[in-house]
């Protein structure tokens, strides 16, 4: 199915508007005032003979061009009969317009020289290139109803690498002029559209944290802008026909380049996996059809990108639906454009596409904003949680009651407890707004807490450290929370406790291990009750790790060699 569509699409512009007729006279109805026809199916002959311009000359043995045949450098004649039917309006005049222009030509009407563009020559030296554009008007007395002969003598030495074939709009001057205007205004309009899109995406790149997709898209718009500038420049500047060469070369570069950039933009923007594979395929689709078939358009890339957008939709990527709509719109318009060379269709396609991309981008920005907002809220919540730890009633009120009880039983212990409480408050206050603190500070905080809890429970708690690097860092109160959990769950009343925090470096990852020697969890484990309900503490620890090292951490816990231990592995790469 897909293949059929490809072939169908391909056939659409390999045969652009050619091949009608078989060398017979083309008919033109003079009573249709807004009308022009494309002269095609010329009879042609290499060589040079003045009599070939004459209506009476017998060209029956000449070759008939039924497909687009590029100009050759050498002098060649083309002949074509036109039959004018009906009657001409009083004010209108007929005209030719050369769209795809050779280096130099002469055009004859019924054997009379009508116009010259440059000087037709045998070689580069004798040929003089003519104007880039040429409109030739016919006098009213020349265009009486009946059969007329058009003969064209041309040579193409100066612009031989810029291929072209003879296809001349012929008909009333006004509609030709209108079509001509369209060929100017819409590219200018397109230029403006791309300029705005370029500036818009460049601003997004510069002002929005230098995200590469925006830079790539601005580059795409910039190159499209350049392309449009090249296509309208000779119209404003009255360039000569040799301008075709740089124009053709720039097209040769711009078409695949813009295709690749556009593909790159979508691939990066949707953050697809295998991005290099995708970009490789797009590059191949951009270059190969041009090299092998001389096709200068982005049809294959666009079809591929439509596939990419469909995949992105299946992956629920933000903005993928509007992107697909934009690509399909552009594709449709391109096909219509190649069918009829209606510039406004092309412009409509481009504009529609850009609007869709901007819409998709704004959706992504909104999503990003939401994510940012959510992470900000999460951080604020984590900070609040951290601060709450020390004023939560279970901790604070029990500590105060402990102080009251020690005042009666042993005032020195009460003083020690108050000092430890004050110290812990001070330390927590200092680190509360940090997302990461020195592990040594964290250890000091844990020791203060252990001293406090030891006083409260009238036991001795200690924290030992092994291999802690001097520059080690950790989100605040992660170890503290784990120790707190250990105190709550691992120890029986009156039991002394030893915690050990160790660190191993391993291939750029840090492995922290916190052990405790409490007997309570072990006993529960022996009784077969090993299920651990993950409480608020563990949730806090995980949220902190995720905030600081998104997707780059692991946490597990369990009994190892008779000790309860918690392992945190942080991938530093």
């Amino acid at each position: 199915m897909r293949k059929t569509i490809l072939i169908l699409l391909l056939s659409l512009f390999v045969v652009p508007l050619y091949g009608q007729g078989n060398g017979d006279a083309q008919q033109f109805d003079l009573s249709q005032h807004n009308h022009f026809i494309l002269l095609a199916a010329w009879k042609t002959m290499v060589g040079d003979n003045e009599s070939w311009s004459q209506p009476g000359f017998d060209d029956s043995d000449w070759e008939t061009l039924t497909a687009a045949a590029d100009y050759q450098p050498d002098i060649r004649w083309y002949r074509k009969k036109v039959v004018l039917n009906g009657s001409q309006d009083d004010y209108d005049i007929l005209a030719f317009y050369f769209t795809s222009i050779p280096s130099a030509f002469e055009i004859y009407w019924d054997g009379e020289l009508l116009a010259k563009n440059g000087v037709v020559g045998n070689n580069l030296a004798t040929e003089t290139p003519g104007d880039y554009r040429k409109m030739i008007k016919l006098k009213r007395e020349q265009t009486l109803p009946g059969e007329h002969l058009i003969a064209v003598r041309l040579s193409n030495h100066h612009t031989s690498i810029a291929s072209g074939f003879l296809s001349i709009p012929f008909g009333y001057f006004n509609p030709i002029q209108t079509a001509l205007n369209e060929m100017v205004y819409f590219p200018v309009f397109n230029f403006g559209v791309f300029l705005l899109a370029f500036l818009f995406s460049l601003a997004l790149f510069l002002g929005g944290g230098k995200q590469r997709p925006y830079l790539i898209f601005s580059l795409y718009c910039f190159l499209c802008m350049i392309g449009m500038a090249f296509s309208v420049y000779p119209i404003f500047q009255d360039a000569d026909v040799t301008y075709l060469i740089p124009q053709r070369m720039i097209t040769f570069i711009l078409v695949p380049a813009t295709g690749i950039l556009l593909g790159g933009f979508f691939i990066l923007n949707f953050q697809l996996e295998n991005k290099y594979l995708h970009i490789g395929i797009i590059t191949a689709l951009a270059i190969l059809p041009m090299v092998f078939f001389g096709l200068q358009d982005q049809l294959f890339e666009l079809i591929y990108l439509a596939g990419v957008a469909i995949y992105a939709i299946s992956q629920k990527k933000v903005g993928s639906i509007s992107t697909l709509i934009g690509i399909l719109g552009l594709l449709t318009m391109l096909i219509i454009f190649y069918w009829g060379f209606q510039w406004y269709v092309y412009t409509a396609g481009i504009t529609f596409f850009l609007v869709c991309v901007v819409f998709a981008t704004s959706r992504q920005l909104k999503k990003e904003h939401q994510l940012h907002e959510a992470s900000r809220l999460r951080s604020a919540r984590l900070e609040a949680e951290l601060l709450k730890k020390n004023i939560q009633p279970h901790f604070l009120m029990n500590t105060l009651l402990s102080i009251m009880s020690w005042i009666k039983q042993d005032p020195n212990k009460a003083i020690k407890l108050i000092k430890a409480l004050a110290e812990e408050f001070r330390m927590i206050n200092k680190i509360s707004s940090e997302r990461e603190i020195s592990l040594h500070d964290e250890i000091a905080l844990c020791r203060t807490h252990l001293e406090l809890m030891g006083c409260r429970k009238d036991v001795n708690y200690e924290l030992h450290e092994e291999n802690i690097p001097d520059d080690a860092k950790i989100p605040p109160m992660v170890i503290h929370t784990l120790i707190e959990n250990g105190l709550t769950h691992a120890y029986q009343t009156g039991e002394n406790g030893q915690f050990t925090l160790s660190c191993e470096k391993d291939n750029g990852s840090l492995h922290y291990r916190l052990k405790n020697d409490g007997s309570r969890l072990l006993k529960q484990h022996e009784n077969g009750n090993s299920s651990v309900v993950e409480g608020m503490g563990l949730k806090y620890v995980k949220a902190r790790l995720e905030e600081r090292y998104p997707n780059k951490w692991q946490l597990d816990y369990g009994i190892e060699e008779g000790n309860w231990e918690v392992n945190i592995i942080i991938d530093k790469n």
Partner: protein
């Protein structure tokens, strides 16, 4: 009087114990301390205690389970906790008092006043009683109870559905935690006053209350007067 203190921090447990001794003074009492849920639960039903002083946040395990267990027993429960936000819930389950940590002698003395029934009672907010059935604590909403009837050391709760549940609490202790709408019409009966349809003298010095549904319950002579004043005021 036997008191059981459940508190996992030894110095605090000792502090509570000391304070109890000060407050109780010349009363005769016996105090025991349990450190965790398991040993506490075992002791609650093995030994007959009169008063449980319970730390609601025990070693991280949900004190709520223990709360249900506690209120199912024959004893009174006083909660001692830092988590004052649990107070309303605790009262709904029929605890005698909720003492917020930190506290002093005065506050503990108030709690004991309640135990001895000497304090001016506030409106009780008890909503549930707990029934212990086959080692499980079943919650019994008070709104389902029509009347309570003493049966030896237990109390029968007669429910609207016609079912009867056995409560492991004495009439007097229930009286301390029941909402005010339950009035004692007889040594052996508490009834929801809003369900009383009529009361009368049946001759021979006996009195009766008829409640919704037509059932008659005995009314003591002294309570007859109280009820008469209460309802005709």
């Amino acid at each position: 009087m036997r008191i059981l203190i459940v508190e996992d921090e030894l110095p605090i447990a000792k502090y509570i114990e000391d304070m109890c001794r000060t407050v109780l003074g010349e009363h005769s009492y016996q105090i025991e301390i349990a450190n965790d849920l398991d040993s506490a639960a075992a002791r609650l039903f093995e030994e007959k205690i009169d008063l449980l002083l319970l730390d609601l946040n025990l070693n991280g395990d949900d004190g709520y389970d223990l709360l249900k267990t506690a209120t199912a027993g024959s004893f009174h429960t006083i909660i001692i906790s830092a988590n004052t936000d649990k107070a309303i819930e605790a009262f709904q389950f029929g605890v005698l008092d909720f003492v917020p940590k930190p506290f002093d002698e005065e506050r503990l003395a108030t709690a004991f006043e309640r135990y001895f029934g000497r304090s001016q009672e506030k409106e009780r907010t008890t909503k549930y009683l707990t029934v212990r059935k086959e080692n499980q604590n079943v919650i019994l909403p008070i709104k389902d109870i029509i009347y309570l009837k003493a049966a030896g050391i237990y109390v029968e709760a007669h429910l609207e559905s016609g079912r009867v549940e056995i409560l492991d609490k004495t009439m007097d202790r229930l009286g301390q935690i029941l909402p005010a709408r339950f009035i004692r019409i007889h040594r052996s009966y508490y009834v929801d006053i809003s369900l009383i349809e009529s009361y009368r003298h049946t001759g021979g010095g006996t009195y009766q209350v008829t409640i919704r549904g037509g059932q008659s319950l005995p009314l003591s002579r002294q309570k007859y007067k109280e009820l008469h004043e209460l309802l005709n005021y």
